[in-house]
């Protein structure tokens, strides 16, 4: 029968006390092992957010390298409001190039595209031909009996280049919300993608044919009200737009060699203003519009959000570190006080042991062993608590970081912006979810056991030393 047996017997002698001490220690140690996974989950989650942000903003920057060019002054051609009939208010939003109220397109020669393409800093040039079709004159009587007359188009042909590299790089403004059939593809000719509204107008669906100015187009797809891939800010596509190859559009509208607008993409966002200036210089009559202000807004939001996130993660780490320190100190103190009490309670026993020939070290090791056993039991309890309760403990003890992508709390949600992350982006990981999945790893559990033994030894060191220094004659008198 050695010191270990005596230690076990002594602990089990007072079962309720041992149970309470082990539970208290177990919770302290559980905090220690529950917070690191929480922090790691937070870091991972924030890393995901950063990656997401980077992907999104890069994509947005790519979109925002867009310079839209139309022939004529903007006052002539700009509609500030999306308009359901005719024009491209839906796509253009604040930058619509086509007058909604029957304003006249100023077509330009398609060779302009080649000239712009040669400007330094230009990544891609996308000529577009918009042709309003089925124009009718409508009269509207307003207040006071005043009569307004204006032209309304039944649908708009959107001719886009189906050049392989432009399509592959997603520069071509194709509809994104295909509800039936397919989208336009590289090299498509004499095929069309209709809007839902068009299908009603023409009375055909996918697989049918529409006749436009004497030419039959096979309907390969139908698009809903959606953003176009080239317009990242997500304005709704015109519900009456019919998409086709630009060469087909030129042919059916009798505008061979003509285009109505050019989307120019700069190499990067820093080139946008230079390229826009060059275009304006080269073609003084052009209305050249950029989206620099949006880019700036998004960059500002990105920067401030990332700063906030980094600060929040840093704060999380600091808080977690402090809580772990508190848990470590609490564990040591619990062991210290319990062992001090035990030593005091067993003074006479210590005196007896010394009187019958136990050395100081024998006595000291006995109490250290008891402290270690208590902590070891607590370590096992901590692993059990940590395995089950780590997510709860982490959620309770770690500061919550708002997910900028979440609709309610996010900086891009609910309010002004709708960010389309595109193909490369994945939804931002929700930090609350990430914390909820945080569980201690086997390595962490092993560390917890080692820490338990260490803290048990440290906590019982002083009481054990005091016990070993007890003078037997005095201890014998102790009642």
């Amino acid at each position: 029968m050695g010191a270990l047996t005596r230690a076990v017997r002594n602990i089990s002698r007072r079962k309720m006390r041992a149970f309470l001490v082990v539970i208290a220690l177990g919770f302290s140690l559980a905090i220690m092992i529950s917070l690191p996974p929480g922090i790691l989950a937070n870091q991972e989650s924030t890393q995901n957010l950063t990656t997401n942000y980077d992907n999104t903003v890069n994509q947005m920057e790519q979109r925002l390298t867009l310079i839209m060019c139309v022939n004529g002054s903007s006052s002539n051609t700009t509609s500030q409001f999306p308009f359901p009939y005719g024009g491209r208010g839906g796509y253009g939003g604040g930058y619509g190039r086509f007058g909604g109220f029957g304003s006249q397109e100023n077509y330009m020669d398609e060779t302009v595209a080649g000239t712009i393409d040669s400007i330094s800093g230009v990544e891609a040039v996308v000529p577009i031909l918009d042709v309003p079709e089925g124009v009718t004159t409508q009269t509207f009587t307003g207040f006071g009996g005043r009569t307004f007359t204006f032209n309304v188009s039944a649908y708009t042909i959107e001719g886009v280049p189906l050049n392989s590299s432009l399509v592959a790089d997603d520069y071509v403004p194709l509809p994104t919300n295909i509800t039936q059939g397919r989208d336009l593809q590289t090299g498509d000719t004499e095929v069309a993608v209709l809007s839902l509204n068009n299908t009603g107008y023409f009375g055909v669906g996918v697989g049918g044919e529409v006749n436009i100015n004497g030419t039959n187009f096979q309907v390969v797809g139908v698009h809903g009200e959606s953003g176009s891939s080239a317009y990242a800010l997500g304005q709704a596509a015109d519900v009456r737009t019919l998409f086709m190859n630009i060469s087909d559009a030129q042919a059916v509208s009798g505008l061979t060699g003509e285009i109505s607008a050019i989307n120019v993409y700069a190499d990067n966002s820093s080139d946008v203003s230079n390229v826009a200036q060059e275009i304006s210089n080269e073609f003084p009559t052009f209305s050249v519009t950029t989206e620099e202000s949006e880019l700036q807004t998004i960059e500002n939001l990105y920067n401030s959000t990332m700063t906030t996130n980094e600060a929040a993660v840093s704060q999380t780490q600091t808080v977690a570190f402090e809580e772990i320190i508190v848990a470590v100190v609490a564990t040591s103190l619990i062991v210290l006080f319990v062992m001090l009490y035990t030593v005091r309670e067993r003074t006479k026993e210590i005196g007896t042991l010394k009187a019958i020939g136990f050395s100081n070290w024998n006595v000291m090791s006995q109490f250290i062993l008891e402290g270690i056993l208590l902590s070891l039991a607590a370590g096992i309890v901590a692993i059990m608590i940590g395995s089950i309760g780590a997510p709860t403990l982490s959620a309770l003890l770690l500061p919550h970081i708002a997910n900028p992508f979440s609709p309610s709390g996010g900086r891009f949600g609910g309010g002004g912006f709708v960010v389309r992350t595109g193909g490369a982006g994945t939804p931002g990981a929700d930090i609350a979810t990430a914390v909820a999945t945080a569980t201690p790893t086997p390595q962490l559990m092993l560390i917890a056991l080692v820490a338990a033994v260490g803290l048990g030894a440290v906590g019982s060191l002083y009481p054990a030393w005091r016990a070993s220094r007890t003078r037997p004659a005095e201890a014998m008198r102790y009642e």
């Binding site: 029968m1 026993e349 005196g351 007896t352 010394k354 020939g357 050395s359 024998n362 003078r471 037997p472």
Partner: protein
């Protein structure tokens, strides 16, 4: 000439009670021979327990020498003293001081724990000693399940665990009823006769003291008187009252029927 196992020379022990000095032992001289059964008697506060503590190396004297088996233990450092306590001295306490979470056998094994004896040897020795003190079959019983007299027997077995040079008993019958008191005294006396164990017992009970070989009277930290006890004749297997022949285990004299 008998061999001296324990000798105290000019022993003194002074306590400080606040600013006042209390002389618990004062220039005390004492000699105990191997195989003797000695009682130290005295009134309360005469220094009996202090003397036993100093002789047993669990307290240090303020002055003088304590020579145990030819070693002056008064000057030894603590790291040597525990070995003396373990190997040379056996303690029996008034309140038994058994560890409640160990059974009788384990309590007896305790002093042997840090010796070179193997676990099996320790167990065998513990059983043997428990048999000597009359507790055969009670090895697995914890102190709570033993009577006071039985607990003191376990304590005596524990004191004998390492075959000490001397057994120091502090009021060994102080917590016992009359029946158990005589049984414990007889046990100590028999151990003294049969095993040659040297015993120094502190007591304030004159009847207990009279059953030892030599009684030392302590007063104010000094030995003031010494007298012979009944045990001397008993050792010669003679009734101390009528001189008839007796056996070591006789509780009463077969002739005069007096309690031995």
């Amino acid at each position: 000439m008998s061999e001296t196992v324990l000798k105290a020379e000019n022993l003194s022990k002074t306590y400080m009670m606040g600013k006042r000095e209390v002389h618990a032992l004062s220039d005390l001289n004492l000699q105990v021979n191997r195989g003797e059964f000695v009682a130290v008697m005295g009134p309360s506060g005469s220094g009996k327990t202090t003397l036993l503590n100093v002789l047993g190396c669990i307290d240090r004297p303020t002055g003088g020498k304590v020579i145990l088996d030819e070693v002056d233990v008064a000057k030894l450092p603590e790291k040597e003293l525990y070995k003396i306590r373990r190997n040379k001295i056996g303690f029996v306490f008034q309140t038994f001081n058994l560890l409640p979470y160990l059974n009788a056998s384990e309590n007896v094994e305790l002093p042997m724990e840090n010796t070179r004896k193997s676990g099996t040897e320790r167990k065998r020795k513990a059983r043997e000693l428990l048999k000597v003190v009359g507790l055969s079959g009670r090895e697995e019983h914890r102190p709570q399940r033993l009577s006071a007299g039985e607990q003191q027997r376990v304590a005596i077995a524990r004191a004998l665990a390492n075959d000490p040079a001397i057994v120091l008993a502090d009021e060994p019958t102080g917590n016992l009823d009359t029946q158990n008191k005589y049984e414990i005294v007889r046990l100590l006396a028999n151990l003294n006769i049969e095993r040659g164990t040297t015993v120094v017992a502190v007591t304030h009970d004159s009847q207990v003291a009279s059953h030892t070989e030599r009684v030392l009277f302590l007063k104010d930290g000094k030995i003031t008187k010494e007298k012979q006890g009944l045990h001397l004749t008993k050792k010669k297997l003679m009734c101390p009252y009528c001189g008839s022949k007796i056996q070591p285990n006789d509780e009463r004299c077969p002739s005069c029927r007096k309690r031995l």
